[in-house]
Symmetry: C2
Subunit: 120 residues, 2 copies
Amino acid sequence: MRQLLIAAHGSRRESSNDELKVLVSKVSLELGMAFDGVQVAFLELASPSIESVLNDFFNADTKEVVVLPYFLSAGNHVVMDIPQEVEKVLCHWPDKKITVLPHIGAFDAMVSVIVEASQH
Amino acid sequence: MRQLLIAAHGSRRESSNDELKVLVSKVSLELGMAFDGVQVAFLELASPSIESVLNDFFNADTKEVVVLPYFLSAGNHVVMDIPQEVEKVLCHWPDKKITVLPHIGAFDAMVSVIVEASQH
């Protein structure tokens, strides 16, 4: 079993966290066979936390999780905080695999999203 | 004259702010005739600030600025802070026009960027 985890910042504004949950349900419809499922988790200010979702995945027999940091630039959250969360969980699950992708803002497809948005 | 302003959060990590400047130069190449130019500005932790770039645009005879909040979800920065910055500047430039777009995360094209990234 292989799961995709979208690791977002989290907001004090509940509607902002809900917005990400809606996005994830849209992603789920498009994701195809590469993953058994997709879920969102938050680094701070909102739940579920990254740690708890990873633990839930592994308790449910997931072998591998791909983590997509849902951040636009490589600030401290991407460079330090998310890798730290991942390492913390892997200590308890030495037989599992977690791959951390580049943050979403690093993908060149963002250029076309900006250009498209600007014509809105 | 019409300019596009990408309003980002800003990071203590200088390389993170530089990453956005590189992105903006890529956007500039794709933007076509709809805008005379594109620039990035930061809400906090980095410069130039949104206020200073807007003032520079208007001092240089720009008539209209389109602001794209470069945020993935509608937290307080999108809902309160960016509109406040814009209103503050408009007080001094009552004849100018500023349009604030939805934040980048609100565009459905983000779904395909996530799906594409997850196959990385």
